[in-house]
């Protein structure tokens, strides 16, 4: 097991390097000259050629590309993502709190998704091909086709405006989580409960179930065994859902005015605040890679077959 974890982590390192390099390359395509941007941000009244030269010299913008990359990478490792062009504050001071807000929303949504995916998956599997199964599947299939932002707007209209039960937007206490979490969850439950359902159904045909039945084990005990084995799928879904939602909350955050990474990045795009965008891309991509690694390791912990397969 230890060897598997080591291996998996070692694969992750070059991947992280490649991801950071790609992020750096991507943003360096931006049309603005970095020195000019820095000077503008410092509100220098007259920007001369000479001044640009000096800034280039001072900040190392005239060094070879690869040297610049390593300087940037080392700074990033110390959470120094530079200065925002627009807000005149270090990028991390904007990014840190926003990341935490998005992360909270993501983790809570993932818990809700897992709980309901298991619930509906088990319900459908135990009632396979009955009305309950058909109805639930049709309903959840339908929700995967609904644009999250549209559903969000409808929810705000119904629950916040008409019924006045919940806050329309912002992040203000536990109540403000209900709508965004529901909207995020509805989209994903429809994708994930299918996996639980088919895992349950596959388990139903395994030998151990036949053996249990043959030895006269009560049906509810057999169900518990099946459930335990199917929960593996639930764990891997949970790990998979976190990075996906983390990278996909942009629209939801916008609808509910959630002060997270998504909102921050959209305003950064519209004001062309490149250091913020660069940090956003890097942080989400790194989180994505790290959570994927964790999900693989967790999967291998619970399912030795994956471990040995590698």
């Amino acid at each position: 097991m230890g060897i598997y974890i080591m291996k998996r982590m070692l694969i992750t390192l070059p991947l992280l390097l490649a991801v950071s390099f790609l992020t750096f390359v991507l943003i360096s395509f931006s049309p603005m000259e970095p020195a000019e941007v820095v000077l503008r941000a410092q509100e220098v009244p007259v920007i001369t050629e000479e001044l640009i030269e000096q800034t280039n010299e001072k900040l190392g913008f005239n060094k070879p590309f690869i040297v610049q990359y390593f300087h940037w990478l080392i700074a990033c490792l110390q959470l120094d993502f530079g200065q925002s062009y627009v807000k005149n504050a270090p990028v991390w001071s904007l990014m840190g709190p926003a990341f935490m807000n998005t992360f909270k929303l993501t983790v809570i949504s993932s818990f809700v998704i897992i709980a309901f995916s298991v619930l509906f998956g088990v319900l459908c599997a135990l009632n396979e091909r009955t009305a309950v199964d058909r109805l639930l599947r049709a309903l959840l299939f339908g929700f995967t086709a609904v644009p999250a932002y549209w559903l969000g707007a409808i929810f705000i209209f119904v629950f916040s405006v008409k019924l006045d039960l919940l806050p329309t937007s912002g992040m203000d206490g536990a109540k403000s989580y209900i709508l965004p979490v529901t909207v995020i969850a509805l989209g994903y439950i429809g994708l994930y409960f299918r996996n639980i359902r088919s895992a349950m159904l596959n388990n139903l045909n395994e030998d151990y179930v036949l053996y249990g039945r043959a030895s006269g084990l009560p049906e509810n005990k057999i169900t518990m065994h099946i459930l335990r084995n199917s929960l593996q799928v639930a764990i891997s879904i949970f790990c998979m859902a976190i990075p996906i939602i983390l990278g996909g909350t942009v629209v939801i955050e916008n609808v509910f005015a959630w002060p997270g990474l998504g909102s921050l990045s959209i305003s950064a795009i519209l004001s062309r605040d490149f250091p913020v965008i660069q940090a956003y891309v890097l942080i989400v991509a790194v989180a994505f890679v790290v959570f994927n690694m964790m999900s693989d390791i967790l999967n291998a912990t619970f399912n030795p077959r994956i471990r040995d397969g590698n």
Partner: protein, 298 residues
């Protein structure tokens, strides 16, 4: 063809197909079909209710909503389809090279795919819009740039199944060139897998791209696009909620149609699926890469 025959037995599938075909025609010929000019502003008709001249009523600038919906088919659905076709083509070429030749070429290509798949699509779309500027074209470029890696990976797995078969080895033995083996012997058998993969991502791509338009990163005003129409409608949501209906329902219907079609296509191309749930096991490779699920971002 057999596939069409199979598909025609599936009512939901054939209905979806007809819906999509009709929608495509309406989208292409929108200028001929639409009753009014979609960008003609008429402040006297602000928020007018449906009438015989304006069947779906008018928006905040008095523009004909029906005409805007019809013109919106092109950017909301047809251009997404073009982007999908482009990324599937790139993915297919790369996947064929990796799966057919294996070895170092394969290893390098797969590592590149790993890196590409480390970025959530939304994040890259945002980065590319930041660099190239706001516009539907730039969003589509971002999707083509990112999605090919996922298609390449799945198509490679599909190709690898067939490369080892005897008739391919025989073709190699008699000295057929690699490109003609790929085109004559492997492409036809993998085509069904490619069709299923492609159709299954169409729905989520429509949702994602309309989402970016909703954020104001897509098509520029005054052009009509469903996501943008929803974003305009949201501004007046509290007083005129009915404006949210048409574009929202349209998106749901199109995405549902593509999802149904994709499911039916899968059954039509692999009829053994119909018999039992268990035989889904046989198609496990199709779900195999964990990344597949990961890309279904909403």
């Amino acid at each position: 063809m057999n596939v069409l025959k199979n598909l025609s037995q599936d009512k939901l599938g054939i209905t979806s197909l007809i819906f999509i075909v009709v929608l495509t025609f309406v989208g292409i010929f929108a200028p001929l079909i639409a009753p009014n000019d979609p960008i003609a502003v008429n402040m006297q008709l602000r928020y007018a209710s449906p009438s015989w001249e304006y069947l779906l009523g008018n928006d905040h600038l008095g523009r004909c909503i029906l005409s805007r919906m019809l013109y919106g088919i092109q950017p909301s659905v047809l251009w997404v389809f073009v982007a999908l076709a482009a990324s599937v083509s790139i993915g297919a070429i790369v996947g064929f090279i990796a799966g057919y030749f294996r070895g170092n070429v394969d290893a390098v290509i797969m590592r590149i795919c790993d890196v590409m798949l480390s970025f959530p699509v939304y994040v890259i779309a945002i980065a590319i819009v930041a660099i190239l500027g706001v516009g539907l074209g730039n969003i589509l470029i971002a999707f083509v740039l990112m999605k090919w890696a996922w298609f390449a990976r799945i198509i490679r797995t599909s190709v690898m199944q067939y490369v080892e078969l005897d008739y391919v080895k025989y073709a190699q033995a008699i000295g057929m060139s690699h490109p003609s083996i790929i085109v004559k012997h492997i492409l036809p058998v993998t085509f069904s897998d490619i069709a299923v993969v492609a159709s299954s991502s169409m729905g989520s791509m429509i949702l994602q791209i309309s989402g970016l338009s909703f954020l104001g990163l897509g098509i520029k005003a005054p052009n009509a696009e469903w996501g943008m129409m929803l974003s305009e409608a949201r501004e007046v949501m509290f007083t005129r909620p009915e404006l949210m209906i048409a574009p929202g329902v349209a998106i749901v219907m199109v995405v549902l149609a593509f999802n149904f079609l994709s499911d039916s296509l899968q059954v039509a191309l692999h009829p053994q699926l119909r018999q039992s749930n268990q035989s889904q096991q046989k198609l496990k490779w199709f779900k195999a890469p964990a990344q597949h699920e990961k890309e279904v971002v909403k």
